[in-house]
């Protein structure tokens, strides 16, 4: 199917009538995903500063609220089942949703807040024709046109997008839009664009999981964290980081329970009620962040919890670069380990 760029705003305006439509928009100098009312606001083909994960897993969300009055206790669950479309997601962000699915819906647990949103959200991605220099998606089992996690994939042909359904849901969605069929020439052009698109940088993660298996006590961690400020720019802007904290907010007998993103880079993250903290310094925190993404997650879900979007690289206040960290880990001598 083909969507002319000039028709995008109108198409989104129509979708807004039926769905909540999230799209990347420019807001005070940054690109962020927002539920839009006007299709013309969407800035497709951009990569948002904050990852699209917040559509399914908002930074702060009320799980339930309660009120106590003369009639007794009233509780209200805040499960959001609004039919939604995320339009203009990057393939790395779509891929991250597949990874998050493992965490929020597995044999042991289903997170109803996440999964309800997930089930009710159609993901329309825009492939990356020109990935940035900090992108390394191709090195972490993905790529600039990876369809994993997307329902529809759009390829930028210049004045139009080629729209291809990835899932059944995507197919139905595209049928509803009554778009023109794509000609052979358009399809061939899209294929050429896809084959030309290359992630800007590379990281070799072959054997990384096994290497990390034997590195928990390795001296490499002793110095790695030294310049890290211990802020959460890397984790909050990471599409796969998913740790959260739950807080109660109450006044008198009324209140709500709120879930907020949390970060393993904060000392408070592991501070016990007793005052004991098992991760006493940046050393343990950095080790945790690397291990979680490239070892524990692989162990549990057979997938690397990094999609190579490069946001942590671009936004670190002290220029810590995960690509360098991974390369250094690969180069470490681990004695019996074969690197």
């Amino acid at each position: 199917m083909i969507i002319n760029k000039s028709e995008i705003a109108g198409l989104l305006d129509n979708l807004v009538k039926e769905y909540r439509v999230y799209a990347p928009v420019e807001k005070d100098g940054s690109i962020v995903f927002e539920a839009i009312e006007e299709g013309a606001r969407a800035k497709l083909g951009t990569t948002s500063k904050k990852p699209a994960k917040e559509i399914l897993f908002p930074q702060s969300e009320e799980l339930f609220s309660y009120q106590v009055d003369s009639e007794g206790l009233r509780m209200e669950d805040k499960i959001d089942d609004t039919k939604s479309i995320a339009f203009g997601v990057r393939p790395c962000d779509a891929k991250s949703m597949m990874l998050l699915d493992n965490v929020f819906h597995n044999d042991l647990y289903e997170d109803v807040y996440y999964t309800t949103r997930r089930k009710n959200t159609i993901i329309v991605s825009v492939g990356c024709s020109e990935p940035e220099s900090t992108c390394f998606c191709s090195s972490v089992n993905s790529g600039p046109f990876d369809t994993d996690g997307s329902d529809v994939m759009l390829t930028d042909l210049g004045e139009a997008y080629l729209a291809e359904a990835v899932t059944e849901q995507g197919k139905e969605f595209l049928l509803k839009l009554n778009l023109k069929e794509a000609g052979e020439e358009d399809k061939a052009r899209a294929e050429e664009i896809k084959s030309r698109a290359q992630a800007g940088s590379e990281v070799d993660i072959t054997g990384l999981k096994e290497k990390l298996d034997g590195m928990f006590d390795h001296p490499y961690w002793d110095k790695l964290h030294e310049k890290c400020l211990g802020c959460a720019a890397c984790t909050y802007l990471c599409p796969t980081c998913h740790c959260f904290d739950i807080a109660d907010e109450a006044r008198d007998c009324n209140g709500c329970r709120v879930r907020n993103w949390d970060s393993c880079m904060f000392p408070l993250f592991t501070l016990h009620g007793s005052g004991h903290n098992p991760r006493t310094s940046g050393k343990e925190r950095w080790r945790q962040r690397v291990m979680h993404k490239f070892n524990y997650f692989v162990e549990r879900y057979n997938a690397t919890a990094c999609v190579g979007c490069g946001r942590c690289i671009k936004n670190c206040p002290v220029n810590m670069d995960i690509r360098q960290v991974l390369a250094e880990i690969k180069a470490q001598d681990t004695g019996s380990e074969v690197s």
Binding site: G29, A233, P317, N319
Partner: protein
């Protein structure tokens, strides 16, 4: 700048070789264009990695608090101001610190550079004297160094370190400190100011990069992290609470803030934090004639009292 890097390397090597220090904190080449990265050199070989350029934007005083070992630091004007302020608060032992002072002409703002090229990705940057050349896929844009400076750097009057053990490079010409942007902000109506702040605070993601990048923010428990009592909501989407966070941070910095702008540079969301911190700096200067971190021998202004102190803030119509 190449020469300056070499001088810094040689100085650092000598200090390490002669065992005058155990560690040199400075900058090394960053992994991205327009970036240098804090670097910790413990060996002569590592000292060879030290550099100096217009991208050394972090305040290294942040790494010097409560150090056990003898440390040398490559410090520009604002780093030294923070060092002086931290010395007064017994966070830095001057006896154990060797300051390699570097006069600073200001650091280059990556955000401004990105704006100049319309948000396209900068793949290479060159500085030839006063000219900055930014290159990317299919473009090359030129600008002057001065235009690309961080606002805090452009308005800074203290590029020359106020104390040092050794000065590397030539002193920069004296400048008047400017609070132009704060004056513009003050001229707005209360409603306009509230609107502006709300818009800025809406961007906040509570990553606390600002707080953690600040050399003067070192409370063992920051009030925002306290859960008993919980002073403010942990929600990042609460504009009011975000403003309380920043507001309290600014109040806690009164008379202490070294006006380096490290908080604003660290912010991944581009919040104009220095406007708030500089309002505090300006007020303290106007009311008490005090600027933090300029004189190692005076008392911190809010730890000092004189009956002559003006008190305009106690009574206001």
């Amino acid at each position: 700048m190449q020469n300056l890097s070499k001088v810094i390397q040689d100085t650092a090597k000598k200090l390490l070789e002669e065992k005058k220090v155990d560690l040199v904190v400075g900058f090394a080449k960053g992994s991205l264009p327009l970036r240098s990265t804090p670097y910790f050199a413990r060996t002569v070989e590592e000292a060879g990695e030290l550099i100096w350029n217009e991208y050394c934007e972090n305040n290294l005083a942040n790494y010097l608090r409560k150090r056990e070992e003898k440390v040398a630091v490559v410090a520009k004007g604002c780093d030294v101001r923070a060092i002086v302020a931290l010395m007064k608060e017994n966070q830095i032992d001057r006896e154990k610190l060797y300051i390699i002072g570097v006069p600073c002409q200001g650091m280059i703002d990556r955000g401004k550079a990105s704006e100049l090229v319309g948000g396209r990705e900068i793949l290479e940057a060159e500085i030839n004297g006063e000219e900055v050349v930014l290159k990317g896929r299919g473009f090359e844009e030129k600008s002057s160094r001065k235009e690309l400076l961080y606002d805090t750097c452009a308005r800074c009057a203290y590029g020359n370190p106020v104390i040092y053990d050794e000065l590397v490079g030539e002193e920069v010409p004296a400048k008047e400190v400017s609070f132009k942007e704060v004056e513009e902000f003050e001229a707005l109506s209360a409603e306009e100011r509230a609107e502006f702040l709300a818009k800025e605070m809406e961007k906040c993601i509570r990553c606390y990069a600002c707080r953690n990048a600040c050399p003067m923010c070192y409370c063992e428990e920051c009030f925002v992290d306290s859960s008993r009592p919980q002073w403010i909501s942990k929600r990042a989407n609460s504009v009011k609470d975000n403003l309380i966070f920043q507001g309290v941070r600014v109040f806690h910095q009164l008379g202490r803030c070294a006006d380096c702008g490290a908080c604003e540079r660290a912010c991944p969301m581009g919040i104009k934090l220095s406007l708030l911190t500089r309002k505090g700096v300006k007020d303290v200067k106007e009311i008490f004639g005090y600027e933090a971190g300029l004189n190692p021998d005076d008392k911190p202004v809010l730890s000092d009292f004189s009956t002559e102190d003006p008190q305009p803030f106690l009574m206001k119509e």
